[in-house]
């Protein structure tokens, strides 16, 4: 498919997700608790998408690879090493903002 409004339904049915390094795709997948392999586009220079993918990999939440190493990664991967991704906490932001506004 080309573009869908939401991938939520497809994500729910998936056992493994292979995605580009876009933040939205990665985070949505991790929040659904699905194992994720991130394919990094090594042709894009100064690619800031890499920052998030690398951090997620170093925190043990995703596996990263490039297009050329994808097959090998799929063959040798051990998804049980992936750690669950805790959700973000917007309530901390709300508390912070409440204090900011209170003092003004």
């Amino acid at each position: 498919f080309r573009f869908k409004d939401s991938l939520a339904q497809d994500l729910r049915g998936a056992d493994l997700v292979i995605s580009h390094a876009g933040a939205g795709s990665c985070l949505e997948t991790l929040e659904q608790g699905k194992p994720l392999i991130v394919v990094i586009n090594d042709k894009l220079m100064n690619n800031h998408q890499l920052e998030l993918a690398k951090q997620l990999q170093s925190d043990g939440h995703v596996l990263c690879c490039s297009c050329s190493t994808l097959v090998e990664t799929l063959q040798s991967m051990d998804l049980s090493t992936l750690k669950p991704f805790p959700p973000g906490q917007p309530e901390k932001f709300a508390s912070f903002l409440d204090k900011v506004v209170e003092f003004q």
Binding site: P90, F93, A94, F96, L97, V100
Partner: protein, 169 residues
């Protein structure tokens, strides 16, 4: 734009109704954010019936990878546009998270503050995607915002005046 809108709506999700009315400003070329915002506000209105919001569009300041000189020109144009809008809205608090759209609005608010017309608190939250480096908007607004929030510890180290609350989206 898309990702930024999703993030900012998550940031808004836990705010009380004191933060009302909410004025959303999006780029004129943005096709997806309006629907997301309306859907968020509609759900909110189900809980808080007196909930209010407005939505305005301004010219997009800069396309991805647009050249430096043409970016300055298009940003100035966006400022000319956002100044009367900001003057009309006279916000107490500006919350932004990184699209180029936020720079002209913040600059307008700073000007209004300098002129003694209205002083807004500017709170900038850098995107969750930014782990090691700041976005261009971030680099600019680090110096001009009242509170600059980052979501990863590396950035807190590099930008000591920033606030680190962990992941908040």
């Amino acid at each position: 734009t898309g990702g930024h809108t999703t993030e900012i709506l998550r940031l808004l999700s836990c705010l009380s109704e004191s933060y009302s009315p909410r004025h959303y400003i999006i780029a004129d070329s943005d096709k997806m954010s309006e629907a997301k915002i309306r859907s968020f506000e509609q759900k909110r209105a189900e809980t808080f019936s007196s909930s209010q919001f407005t939505l305005d569009r301004i010219p997009r300041s800069r396309e991805v990878r647009q050249s430096w000189t043409s970016s300055v020109v298009s940003t100035l144009y966006s400022i000319l546009y956002s100044l009367p809008l900001t003057y009309k809205l006279k916000p107490d608090l500006i919350l932004c998270n990184g699209p180029g759209t936020c720079v002209p609005v913040c600059i307008s608010a700073l000007l209004l503050g300098l002129l003694g017309i209205k002083r807004a608190i500017i709170v900038y939250v850098e995107s969750i995607c930014r782990v090691e480096t700041l976005s261009l908007s971030g680099k600019i607004l680090y110096y001009f915002s009242d509170y600059f929030i980052v979501q990863w510890p590396n950035l807190k180290e590099k930008y000591p005046k920033s606030v680190y609350l962990g992941r908040i989206v």
